[in-house]
C-alpha cells in the first residue's frame, strides 16, 4: 500500500511538472504571437526605410515629384527630407497641447472634486462619448468651426483644434484617475493643518500626482501624433515649412499619405513611417519610465 501510494505521489508530481511546462510554453508562444506583428512592422520599416534616413531627411523639405523621379530613375536615394512634415507635426501638437492640457487638467480636477455629483456623471458620459467619436468626424467639426469661420481656409489652428479635441478626453480621464489614486489620508493630513480645499488641490494633490498627470499627457500626445484623417480636412498639408497659425501646414502622417499617392516617392513612405513609429515608441517608453519611477 505504502509503495503504491508513493508511486502515485510521484506520478502526480510528474504530471504537475508537465502541466507547468505546457502552461509556460503556451504563455511564451502567445506572447511571441502578440509581439510578432510589432517586430515585423519595425523590421519592414527599417529594412525599407533606412536608406532614406540621413541628415537631409531631417533638415530638407520634401522633394517635388520630378526630383524624385530623376533620382529613382538613376537608382539613387531620393533627395530632400520631410522637414516640413516634422515641423508641422511638432507645431500642431504643440498648439493642440496648449489648448488640451489646461482644459483637460481643469475638467479632470473638476470631475475628481465633484465625483459623486449628478452633473459630474453627465460630464463624464460626455467625455466618454467624445472619446469614441471617430477622428474624421472631429476633423469635420474642426473644419466647420475653424476652417470655415475663423481662419477662412485650411490652417494649423484647425488641425490643432481637431487634435486638441482628441487629446482632451484622454487627459481628462487620466487626470481624474490619477487624483483618485492618491490616498485620502494625504488629503486629510492637509485638512487637519487647516489648509483650504483649493490649496490642497494645488499644493498637495497636483504635486503628488504629477508623474501620473505627465504620463497621461504623454500618452495622449502619442495617440494623436499619427492622426491623419482629421488633418486632411483641416491642416491640408503644405510643401513649405509653415509656422503661421492660419496657413495650411504639413505633418508627417499627411506626407506619408502624399508619398503613397505619388509612385515616385514610395521610398519615402517607409522612412517617414519609421520616424513616426519611433516618436510614438519614445513617448510610450518615456511614460512607462515615469510610471516605473513612481512606484
Amino acid at each position: 500500500m505504502a509503495f503504491a501510494k508513493q508511486i502515485s505521489g510521484e506520478g502526480a508530481l510528474k504530471r504537475r511538472v508537465v502541466k507547468n511546462r505546457l502552461f509556460a510554453g503556451s504563455v511564451i508562444f502567445f506572447s511571441m504571437l502578440t509581439i510578432s506583428p510589432i517586430l515585423l512592422i519595425v523590421y519592414k520599416l527599417v529594412a525599407k526605410g533606412y536608406r532614406q534616413i540621413n541628415i537631409d531627411f531631417f533638415t530638407k523639405k520634401a522633394p517635388d515629384t520630378y526630383e524624385a523621379m530623376v533620382a529613382v530613375g538613376a537608382g539613387e536615394v531620393i533627395p530632400g527630407g520631410i522637414l516640413n512634415g516634422i515641423a508641422g507635426t511638432l507645431y500642431m501638437v504643440f498648439i493642440a497641447s496648449l489648448i488640451a492640457i489646461p482644459v483637460g487638467l481643469l475638467i479632470g480636477i473638476f470631475l475628481y472634486d465633484q465625483q459623486s455629483k449628478r452633473y459630474a456623471g453627465v460630464v463624464r458620459d460626455v467625455v466618454d462619448i467624445l472619446q469614441g467619436v471617430p477622428s474624421i468626424v472631429l476633423g469635420l467639426i474642426a473644419y466647420f468651426w475653424v476652417v470655415k469661420n475663423i481662419t477662412n481656409g485650411f490652417s494649423a489652428l484647425a488641425g490643432s483644434t481637431a487634435l486638441a479635441i482628441m487629446m482632451m478626453p484622454l487627459i481628462i480621464r487620466s487626470t481624474e484617475e490619477t487624483l483618485k489614486m492618491i490616498p485620502e489620508t494625504i488629503i486629510e493630513a492637509g485638512f487637519a493643518l487647516g489648509v483650504p480645499y483649493h490649496k490642497i488641490i494645488l499644493r498637495v494633490l497636483i504635486p503628488s500626482g504629477f508623474s501620473g498627470l505627465l504620463t497621461g499627457i504623454l500618452l495622449a500626445i502619442s495617440r494623436i501624433i499619427g492622426e491623419t484623417a482629421p488633418l486632411m480636412l483641416t491642416a491640408l498639408g503644405s510643401m513649405q515649412v509653415n509656422f503661421q497659425i492660419d496657413k495650411p501646414t504639413s505633418a508627417i502622417p499627411l506626407l506619408i499619405w502624399e508619398f503613397y499617392n505619388d509612385p515616385n516617392m514610395v521610398d519615402l513612405i517607409w522612412s517617414s513611417s519609421l520616424l513616426l513609429m519611433m516618436m510614438v515608441l519614445l513617448l510610450n517608453l518615456l511614460s512607462r519610465q515615469i510610471i516605473a519611477r513612481r512606484s
Binding site: T185, F191, L193, I200, S208
Partner: protein, 260 residues
C-alpha cells in the same frame, strides 16, 4: 456623568451635548458631554463602530468637509466656541494625527514638519524655519535619527519614524491639544513603545486626546478614560478608577473582554 465634568477643573476642551450623524436616521455620536483636562492624556475606548473617531474628528471640525455630516452641540476651546473660530485657527490650536502615518509624499522631512506653514502660505524666516523643524523633531525624539537627511523625502522613513514625523508636523504649530486616532495600530511593538513614551513626555506641554482599541495601552499611558458604546459616552473618569472599579456593567464587560 455630569458630576465628573464638574470634577475636571479648568478644562482645555469642553464638549457639550455633542451629536454627530452621517445620515438622518442614525446618529454616530449621541449627546456626548465631557471636559478634557489640561496636560493630561485622555483615552477614548470602545468597541469598533461606537463613534470614537467620529467624536475625535468633531473636535477639530473635520466633519466640516463632508456636507452630509450633521453636527449639533458645542465645543469650547479655552472657553471659546470652536464654531466661531476659523478652521485654520482652530486646527493650528488642535493638531491631529491619524491611524496610518501620512507624511506628504512630495515633501522632504524638513518640509513635512513645517507643512502647515508652507501649505497655508505663512511666511517664516529661514532661521525660524530651522528652529521649528529642529524643536519639533527633538520633541518627537526623531532629530538625531534624521538630522543628516532632512532633505530626503518623508516617505523614506520607517512606519514608526513616519508616525513620529506626523506628530512633529502637528507640534510645529505649537497647538494646545493633539488628537490622535489609533496612532499605533499600524506600528510594530517597538515603534509603538516609542510613540507611547513620546506621548507621556508630550503631556508636559500639550493636552492629548487619543482613540485606542488597545485597553492595555490606555491603561499604560492615559490619565483619563472615556468608554463609548453605540455612540454614547457610557463612562468617563480617571483611568485607574475605571480599570479597577468600572461603574457601568457595559464598561466592565468591555474591559473584561466580553465584547470588543
Amino acid at each position: 456623568m455630569s458630576e465628573l465634568i464638574k470634577q475636571i477643573s479648568d478644562p482645555v476642551l469642553e464638549i457639550r451635548d455633542l451629536s454627530v450623524s452621517y445620515n438622518k436616521d442614525k446618529s454616530a455620536v449621541t449627546a456626548v458631554s465631557a471636559g478634557i483636562k489640561k496636560n493630561r492624556v485622555t483615552a477614548i475606548m470602545g468597541p469598533s463602530g461606537c463613534g470614537k473617531s467620529t467624536l475625535l474628528r468633531a473636535i477639530n471640525r473635520m466633519h466640516d468637509l463632508y456636507p452630509n455630516v450633521e453636527t449639533v452641540g458645542d465645543i469650547f476651546l479655552n472657553g471659546e466656541d470652536t464654531a466661531d473660530m476659523s478652521t485654520m485657527m482652530l486646527r493650528r490650536k488642535i493638531g491631529m494625527v491619524f491611524q496610518r502615518p501620512n507624511p506628504f509624499p512630495t515633501m522632504s522631512i524638513h518640509d513635512n514638519v513645517i507643512a502647515g506653514y508652507k501649505l497655508n502660505g505663512i511666511r517664516l524666516q529661514k532661521s525660524d524655519k530651522n528652529d521649528i523643524v529642529e524643536k519639533s523633531l527633538r520633541d518627537v525624539a526623531l532629530w538625531d535619527e534624521v538630522k543628516d537627511s532632512l532633505i530626503k523625502k518623508g516617505t523614506f522613513l520607517s512606519g514608526g519614524q513616519q508616525q513620529r514625523l506626523c506628530i512633529a508636523r502637528a507640534l510645529a504649530f505649537k497647538p494646545d491639544v493633539i488628537l490622535l486616532d489609533e496612532p499605533t495600530s499600524a506600528l510594530d511593538p517597538v515603534a509603538t513603545k516609542k510613540v507611547e513614551e513620546l506621548l507621556m513626555q508630550l503631556k508636559k506641554d500639550y493636552t492629548i486626546v487619543m482613540v485606542t482599541h488597545n485597553m492595555a495601552q490606555a491603561a499604560r499611558i492615559s490619565d483619563f478614560s472615556m468608554f463609548m458604546y453605540l455612540g454614547e459616552l457610557i463612562e468617563y473618569g480617571k483611568t485607574k478608577d475605571m480599570f479597577i472599579k468600572p461603574i457601568d456593567t457595559r464598561t466592565e464587560e468591555y474591559l473584561t473582554g466580553k465584547f470588543s
